[in-house]
Symmetry: C2
Subunit: 589 residues, 2 copies
């Protein structure tokens, strides 16, 4: 095995081409085995192996800085930079993140998990080098999917006038997460078809020196070109054409399905069909399809991650012109949806909580200031055990403090569908719905609420002394707390399903003052700037006490949910204990 | 006068070219007179008069939708769409906003004040038209300065594949607010130099049909081309070369100074030099210049609005390579600064509160998740009497709920400079400083605080019963309230300058419980998700009462500050009255 001899980039320098090809094959086998075991990004990493080997052969990391975009294609880089045990030893499969992480290695310059940032970061790294009088190459490695994001363009536009060394490697595998979207991709195709020789060249229009490598999975050809651009004193784009999923037939064929896989995907027999279970994703797509058939102005919009909300190929095909994937372009997605709603169509924009961060200004200016009646579905909004780069715990502070927005938190399927239909049919407000995360809940009881009566909370159980206001997916926890509290403290608490994140039901809150001493709030996200604090503010001038439960303001990194719930006191036992303390009751029975 | 006959676009249809030229001259005179009286955007409007006349002559607004970018170039459009009295009648100079506003006219499709959104909005309007089976042209009018923003590119990329009518008019006047920045502008120059004939064409690489009008202030030539592109069934770019400030010599010469002017700028004699007065802007530029001279890794960064923070041409020239204007590209600016700080340089990014909204994700991911020790100066963060599109009241909820950030609120020059120097010299945290807005305050007493002791509030006056926590520029109000309360209620309140927006001084807040019944918070921004709510949450489980004073969650539109302060009870009298009520004291003496 060649890999046995390789621990750090310096170990690559004496290999010949044949050895590097063998090394690439060995890395490919490792990555397939590891990712099939743990799940993770497969296709992007299989496509970039040879380029990673060639980059580390030609350049001298970390003096030369290789800066990853999204960084979900960094597995080969991790193998070559002191972390191969995370791929060779199944006991250590989980010790490294799936993204670049400076705390793991000096070869990782930034912690990156969102898209389209590498060029801007590289311009900053290069400018810092220049200001400090240092030397070395700065290399940004950006995938073609990331090119649809506006920040990438801002980076290119500024990189072009840097006036010193910066090398942008464009990894063109003709695929984003799903299909690539937008005019630029026609230019990439033209450049591929002409071996980079077409006069019409996006990168050259911005002023870049341009190199093309048609065989982007050929170590020798890559090395040849990387050597040419090394140490140049001006901005360069190296456009390499790679094959996403290379070396695994299934991944080469179905690039979208193998972009990111669940554990043991490759072990499954192909003819076993998964059993259908109803989910928030399935009821959403069912709703949209039915509605779209009757109303040609209904349109579903996705910024490049359709799989995350169950927008399957079949769903997309059925919708036809009533579906737009805008690519990784959340700003455009929000403005596009806002404009459509303002002009009388009925857009439903689906977006992940972590990525809604990428479009604050459009939410504020295009959507809310224009009071445009678009519908936004926010998925994966919850405290999570995921990577620090993809947390879903910040959307409430981010969105709920923007004027005019009606942000709703359903607690079950029936509420969710009623809210969704109300949102689509009304013309008065921008509406966002926090699609519940985790367990699917169906009460079987039709929701007949009129959501045009804004900020009307629902009292689910009448009680006294303590009131529990349990938001969205934490309504279930609220019910558990109520039962436990009754049992342990003998308190018959009032249980409230607020449904509206963006407003206060003043009348109800006022009425609680009569027979309650304490109000508890539960929310599935950070507390700072969130829902509970508004309740605390409301009761500030009264004798009612308030305890807010939710996450702390922190970036958690792959912390198991149970551990987070313990840390934040988000269990029936800890909440009941805190309640007893606050009310100076005898300790819990 | 031709204008006498013109009230609506339909009145234009029977004019001949000569009359339209006369009309353009009359509009030019009106705009100069009006803007010189009220202040406002001058250069952009003088440059776009002929194109506006030609657009309204060729197209049929509002069936054909003309969508403005930024919309600070909409004055000629307002004159031609039923609102000329706002320019002819000095008593009515203030009745219309300086931006497009659907509530004023059906010819204004969206309310727009931030940049780079027109193409995305136009794609949405066009798609709504197609889904509903309607007809008509959709025209986006985007200025060259707006082309540096990523959202514009996202819009172009998606517009190119719309597959139906959309016309993007690129108003190229070779100027942003200050100079244009970035690689794209070299391509625009090439296109101008070749009368649009160069093979290397940014717009064509994205797949657009492309038209060039070299004489962008020639009504006849414009009409000729607009007629050609009208009703086309595919995406088109019309690149028009106009002269910013046309018709006013001073504005043509100094395009930056005349982009936006104060009232009566044209009346001033040129040789009268304004008297120098110290300001937060002047002490900032002084600090940066001195520091930059000693340390070559200091760099000031501006996303296209240098004038707003006093980054004059002289200041920029002195800094040379230690200054970057990235263009209107806030996302890039934040990532760029983050990367530089992480790589050992000392970036100071200046940005307006309203525009910090455009870069939430980079603040979260590139800056804070990476714990990058960059310094960010947030200007104009305050409740304001400005247009709804440019409010500075949302930055505290937006920024302060992001983990790791240290967001500071100085109350005077001395604190500000100490914080700034601490921020620049430390390597542990991303730091933002909310530069005080309004009156300049200097105590003359050196601030010796060690700001590395995070979240340590300063007790300025010891007292009892009531504690006033007065943040940043509202510290002054806090002092006034204290005096007034002593006088009227006989309460000797504790006065606290919290300085840290992002954290709670738990020890101090805990200690207040002994001898205080009520804590008052004052902040110059909206309450929702802000500073005061965190204090309310802290005291939720105690007997201390809390009253939060600040703005409501709303988009206010040119409401005088006094009126806002009354509405939000932000006066010493109203705060004292609310205090008396909360404490059930006899009414104020």
């Amino acid at each position: 095995m060649v890999l046995e001899k390789i621990n750090y980039p310096s170990d690559l320098k004496n290999l010949n081409i044949e050895e590097m090809n063998t090394l690439s094959d060995e890395m490919r086998d490792l990555i397939i085995k590891k990712v099939n075991s743990t799940g993770g990004h497969l296709g992007p990493n299989l496509g970039i192996i040879e380029a990673t080997v060639a980059l580390h052969y030609v350049f001298n990391s970390p003096v030369d800085k290789i800066i990853y975009d999204v960084s979900h294609q960094c597995y080969p880089h991790k193998i070559l930079t002191g972390r191969k045990e995370g791929f060779t030893d199944s006991d250590k499969y989980h010790i490294y993140t799936g993204y670049t992480a400076p705390e793991e290695s000096v070869h990782d310059i930034f912690k990156v998990g969102h898209t389209s940032t590498s060029v801007s970061l590289a311009v900053g790294a290069a400018k810092a080098r220049d200001l400090k009088g240092e030397t070395g190459n700065v290399i940004a490695l950006i995938g073609d999917g990331s090119l649809s994001g506006g920040e990438a363009y801002e980076g290119f536009n500024n990189a072009a006038v840097l006036g010193s060394n910066i090398i942008i490697v464009v990894n063109d595998n003709d695929m984003s997460i799903a299909e690539n979207q937008g005019g630029l991709y026609q230019n990439l195709k033209l450049l591929r078809d002409t071996q980079g020789k077409a006069e019409s060249n996006f990168f050259k229009t911005l002023g870049f020196d341009y190199y093309y490598v048609g065989e982007g999975n050929n170590v020798e050809k890559l090395i040849e070109t990387f050597k040419k651009v090394k140490d140049l004193n001006h901005p360069v784009v190296v456009h390499i054409h790679t094959v996403k999923g290379l070396g695994l037939a299934a991944a080469e064929q179905d690039k979208e399905a193998f972009h990111w896989i669940l554990p043991h995907t490759l072990d499954k027999k192909e003819d076993v069909k998964s059993v259908f279970t109803e989910s928030y994703e399935s009821v959403t797509t069912d709703y949209i399809l039915k509605k779209a058939e009757k109303d040609s102005s209904i349109i579903a919009i996705s910024p490049a991650t359709p799989g995350a909300y169950g927008f399957t190929r079949e769903f997309r095909n059925k919708l036809g012109k009533q579906y737009t994937d805008v690519g990784i372009a959340e700003e455009h997605a929000t403005a596009y949806a806002s404009a459509m709603a303002k002009c009388g169509a009925k857009p439903i924009l689906a977006i992940l909580s972590s990525f809604v961060q990428r479009t604050y200004d459009q939410l504020s200016q295009d959507l809310c200031l224009n009071n445009s009646p678009a519908s936004i579905l926010v998925y994966w909004g919850a405290l999570s055990s995921g990577d620090a780069t993809h947390l879903g715990s910040f959307d409430i502070p981010l969105m709920s403090n923007i004027p005019n927005l009606v942000y709703l938190a359903p607690a079950c399927k029936e509420e969710y569908l009623k809210m969704l239909d109300w949102s689509v049919e009304q013309n008065d407000y921008p509406v966002a719905i926090r699609v519940p995360f985790g367990q699917f809940v169906s009460t079987g009881v039709e929701d007949k609420t009129d959501y045009s009566q804004l900020n009307k909370y629902k009292v689910e159980e009448e009680g006294s002394e303590v009131a529990i206001i349990a938001l969205g997916s934490f309504f279930k926890l609220g019910k558990e707390v109520r039962e436990y509290m009754k049992d342990k403290l003998g308190i018959n608490a009032t249980l409230i399903n607020p449904k509206f994140i963006t407003g206060i039901d003043e009348k109800l809150l006022e009425s609680l003052k009569d027979s309650h001493k304490l109000v508890i709030t539960l929310e599935d996200g950070i507390l700072d700037g969130g829902f509970g604090e508004k309740i605390a503010r409301f009761y500030g001038n009264s004798d009612i006490k308030v305890l807010n439960f939710g996450g702390l303001k922190e970036f958690t990194d792959r912390v198991p949910l149970d551990e987070l719930y313990q840390r934040y006191h988000l269990t029936k036992e800890l909440i009941t204990q805190d309640t007893a303390e606050c009310l100076s009751l005898a300790s819990v029975k």
